[in-house]
Every structure is written in structure tokens, then in C-alpha cells.
């Protein structure tokens, strides 16, 4: 029996249809006819029900269509519908019999104009930005000296190869710990989140690179998902995002502590701070040695002026040749020192005798005391040299020490301090019986000033 026959029969017999009967007939007809339909319009009166269902209207200039979209479908949508948004919706028309109303039950929806993913990206970006997740004050400093760099990526992808290539080329003293994760496709975001959690649980990791090589927006999509963005924001360890190429921006890039344009660039970043520190250390060490050299040079000049007086010349040259003798040969150092010491003692005796003969005791008293003090110092230095011969060999081997004024001590100079720790520059600074601390290359020892002559 055709539809028409059905109605004919009722109208001829004057038998009225019940509302339910009519509505049921309409429902059958309409729902069969509009089982799958695409419709395009602007969203209005959008409401989210607590059940997770959405209710809204699609309208154009002249008409309006009630729509319902159920929770199961809504979960699959990547963008969030909102009033004013122009969309294409696919669904079926359904009649709601109790109210005699029809509506579109939406099965799928996509924005018109902008791609769905693009729109989703913009929406999530705006939402997280409004929450302050991208604020610069949230960004943490990268560690200056990372001991271990965690890398979240595919162990077979281009990203890890690029990162390792950079690290190897720069010969960085860095440990790498890879937490493998799928970086595209269903479940990739969850995989990446798990890997970030894993690395956060390892105490040695102090910076994490999260990334992958380039691809389409679909390939990179995992890095635009909200749960991943929140996981990055929550990470204890600072995160560098390194997704795709320079022109690819993802939500992960905005929320990460630092965005690297490529995985290689991320590897450069974790190494850069080390380089900077290394350079700074090198520069400071150079400056340190130079400053000390200048300081001792100045002292040497002053010393030279003080010692230019007659009577010191001979002693001074003896001292100099004795010191030069030290450099001749480490093997003969002991022998040389004993000989020099003997020579020096003889010379000193001659000088002392000459001084007293000339009866210049008063004016030369200071000089004589100084000679004696030099003698004592020289003797102790020589002794120190002999006993620390082995030490000297290793010190001479040290590059830094070869430059340093400390090496002067190692060559046998000594500094005498008084009890207050001040350097004794004149013999008259010390009285008979005073305690004198003599500092040599290897430690120091106490002396007592002899009775004054």
C-alpha cells in the first residue's frame, strides 16, 4: 500500500488520525528521507549540558535548525563549537515526538574556512594563554651545566639522530637519556606524557628535550593536545620543545620553557651554556695568572731598587746565579745547591768582615742584619729545595704552575712572616727572640730570631 493510499483511506472514511499516529508517520518519512545530510550554517544559542551533550541552533539569514550533538561524538571533535562559528554539520534529522519538533542529530562537524585542526590550535592557544600558561615568568632557566639531558622522541626518528650528531660534533661532555615515545598517530600524546613523567622521576636528568622531525600538521598534532601542554607545564625538569622545522609552531612550543626551532637547535642550546662557562673559566684563569705575574714583577722591581746599593750587588748576583743553577738540571740540583750555599757562606763571611773592619757598623747595621737574614733564608730555602726535589719534578710538569709565582716558591724562594702574619720585609722588623714563620714551597716552619749583633 502506497503512502498516498494510506492517507486516502483515512480521509475517505473521515477517520481522524491521532497526533501520535500522524507524528509517527511524519517521523518515518522524514527520518528515512534525511538519514544522512550535510548542512551549513552559523552556530547560535550554544549550550553545553552537564551530561556532555551539546544543544544549539544552526541558522542562516532566513531559517534556523535545532541541533543536538551527543557526548560520544563531541569527544571526537578537535575544536570547540561556539556561537557565531560557521560550520558544516553532518547528521540525521530526528523528530522529537513529545514536542512535535525536529532536530538535527549531529554526527560530525567541521569549521568552514579555517581547517578544523587550525581552529582547534587557535582555540587551545587562546585558552592556555588566558590561563597564563605561556607567561614568561613561568619559564624556567635551563641548567648551566646539565649532567644529563633527557630526550623524549622516537628512537628511530630523525630528531634523535640530529641531536646526537650535534652533541658528537661538539664533543660535549654530556650524558643523554632517551625516553622513547611514539610522536605521531593515536595515543602519541599519551606516550610523550608518560616519557616526560619517566624522565621527571630520574634525579640525574636536569633538562628535557621533547621533539620530533618535521611533518604535516596532522603528523605534529600530538604536540598540540591539551593534556600534553599541561604535562609540559607541570614538569619539574625544564623542557625544551623541538618540533618539526623552523616554521612549525605547536602548543608545546608555547608552553615549554624554551622553544628550539629544530631538534638540532635544541642540542646546540643545551651545549651553549657549557661553552660559555668554559670560555669564562679559561679567560678568568688567564687573567688570574697575568695579574699575579704583574704583581710579582712590581715587587721584583721594588726589590731591585732596594738592593741596588753597593755591597748587595755581589750577594745579589750570587743569589741570582744560585737560582739560575736550580734550573740547569733537576738531577744535579742537590749538588749545585750545596756548592752554592758554601760559596755564598764564604762570600758572606768576607762581606761581614769587611763591613766591620770599615767601622761602619752604625750606618750599615741594617744592611748587615739584612745580610744575615738573607743568609738564614737562603740556607733554609736550600734545605727546602733538597728535601722537596721530587715535589719539584711534578710541579715543573704542571703547566699552570710553570707560569705561576707559586713556582717561584718551588724554585726555592721563601717568605718570612712575623707572628701577625705580615711579611717581613726588613730584618729590623724582627727583634731578637721574635718568632718568625718561614713559608716555603711545601708548607711553613717556625724560627726564632737570633740575638742581635
Amino acid at each position: 500500500m502506497s503512502q498516498l493510499d494510506f492517507f486516502e483511506q483515512f480521509s475517505k472514511g473521515r477517520r481522524a488520525l491521532s497526533v501520535s499516529e500522524l507524528t509517527a508517520r511524519i517521523k518515518t518519512l522524514i527520518e528515512a528521507e534525511f538519514f544522512t545530510v550535510w548542512v551549513e550554517g552559523e552556530i547560535s544559542n550554544f549550550t553545553r549540558h552537564s551530561s556532555g551533550h551539546w544543544y544549539f541552533s544552526l541558522k542562516d539569514q532566513f531559517a534556523s535548525l535545532r541541533c543536538a550533538s551527543f557526548r560520544m561524538q563531541n569527544r571526537l571533535l578537535r575544536f570547540k563549537p561556539e556561537d557565531g562559528l560557521h560550520v558544516r554539520a553532518r547528521g540525521r534529522i530526528s523528530i522529537y515526538e513529545p514536542r512535535g519538533e525536529y532536530q538535527l542529530v549531529v554526527e560530525h562537524m567541521e569549521p568552514v574556512g579555517l581547517g578544523a585542526l587550525q581552529l582547534a590550535f587557535e582555540q587551545l592557544k587562546n585558552k592556555l594563554a588566558a590561563e597564563g600558561l605561556f607567561n614568561s615568568e613561568r619559564k624556567r632557566q635551563l641548567p648551566l651545566l646539565p649532567r644529563c639531558v633527557g630526550v623524549v622522541t622516537s628512537p628511530t626518528g630523525a630528531a634523535i639522530r640530529d641531536i646526537l650528531r650535534v652533541i658528537r660534533r661538539r664533543n660535549e661532555a654530556l650524558n643523554i637519556l632517551i625516553a622513547p615515545a611514539r610522536v605521531q598517530g593515536e595515543g602519541a600524546a599519551q606516550d610523550i606524557m608518560r616519557a616526560i613523567r619517566l624522565l621527571n622521576g630520574r634525579a640525574e636528568v636536569d633538562v628535557i628535550i621533547v621533539g620530533r622531525g618535521g611533518g604535516s600538521i596532522e603528523d605534529l598534532w600530538a604536540f598540540n593536545e591539551e593534556p600534553l601542554a599541561r604535562a609540559i607545564a607541570k614538569s619539574r625538569v625544564p623542557i625544551i620543545s623541538a618540533v618539526g622545522h623552523e616554521t612549525d609552531f605547536t602548543i608545546a612550543d608555547f608552553v615549554a620553557d624554551l622553544r628550539a626551532s629544530t631538534p638540532s637547535a635544541a642540542a646546540e642550546m643545551v651545549s651553549a651554556a657549557r661553552d660559555e662557562l668554559s670560555l669564562r673559566l679559561e679567560r678568568l684563569t688567564r687573567d688570574l695568572v697575568r695579574a699575579m705575574q704583574q704583581r710579582t714583577n712590581r715587587s721584583r722591581t721594588i726589590l731591585g731598587e732596594l738592593e741596588r746599593s753597593r755591597g748587595f750587588q755581589t750577594l745579589r748576583s750570587r743569589l741570582q746565579s744560585a737560582l739560575q743553577g736550580l734550573d740547569f738540571s733537576l738531577n744535579s740540583i742537590e749538588r749545585i745547591f750545596i756548592r752554592r750555599l758554601r760559596l755564598h757562606r764564604e762570600n758572606l763571611n768576607i762581606l761581614a768582615a769587611r763591613l766591620s773592619e770599615a767601622d761602619l757598623a752604625r750606618s750599615l747595621g741594617a744592611h748587615r742584619r739584612r745580610l744575615l737574614s738573607l743568609d738564614a733564608r737562603f740556607a733554609s730555602v736550600a734545605q727546602g729545595m733538597i728535601t722537596s726535589k721530587r715535589e719539584r719534578v711534578s710541579v715543573a710538569a704542571g703547566k699552570l704552575n710553570s707560569l705561576s709565582p707559586l713556582a717561584v716558591l718551588a724554585r726555592g724562594y721563601a717568605i718570612a712572616f712575623d707572628e701577625k702574619g705580615r711579611a717581613i720585609k726588613r730584618a729590623k722588623d724582627v727583634r731578637a727572640g721574635d718568632r718568625v714563620i718561614v713559608r716555603v714551597n711545601e708548607g711553613q716552619f717556625d724560627c726564632t730570631r737570633n740575638k742581635e749583633e
Binding site: 660535549e172 661532555a173 622513547p180 688570574l288 699552570l400
Partner: protein, 79 residues
């Protein structure tokens, strides 16, 4: 975290020592003492810069469900 803070602090300390030495108004013995401190700081810092072992490892799930680091073999086959 603390070790790297102290690294930077060491560098700052070294910088301070160099400045003091460069000013040149200290007695020789005090300069020497400073210099010695500086040399020690410099050596400690250098040691710390070189101390990582250049390991590359990957976290793999072991039979008991925990993740353990294992040496990473780079695969050359896939692009």
C-alpha cells in the same frame, strides 16, 4: 642543581679574586694567598666541566615493569 649553582658561584669567586689581584694594592703575601685560591677554584671548575661520561642511553621497560637505562644503539636503517 646545587652543584651547578656552586659552579657559577666558583666562577664569581674567581672573578672577584682576579679583580682584587688586578687592583694590585694588596701586599705580596696576601696576593699569593689569593692566587693560590684562584688556581684551586680554576682546577675544580675545569674538573667539573669534564666530568660527564658522554653516555647515550635509552629507558627500556624491563620484565618487572620498571624502566631501566640501557646503552642506545642508533638505528641507521630508518629515515
Amino acid at each position: 642543581m646545587s652543584s651547578e649553582k656552586s659552579f657559577e658561584a666558583s666562577l664569581d669567586e674567581l672573578e672577584r679574586i682576579v679583580k682584587q689581584l688586578e687592583a694590585g694594592d694588596l701586599p705580596l703575601e696576601a696576593s699569593l694567598e689569593l692566587f693560590e685560591q684562584g688556581v684551586k677554584l680554576s682546577r675544580d671548575c675545569q674538573k667539573r666541566l669534564d666530568e660527564a661520561e658522554r653516555k647515550v642511553e635509552i629507558l627500556l621497560r624491563s620484565t618487572d615493569g620498571t624502566y631501566k637505562p640501557a646503552p642506545f644503539e642508533e638505528s641507521e636503517s630508518e629515515e
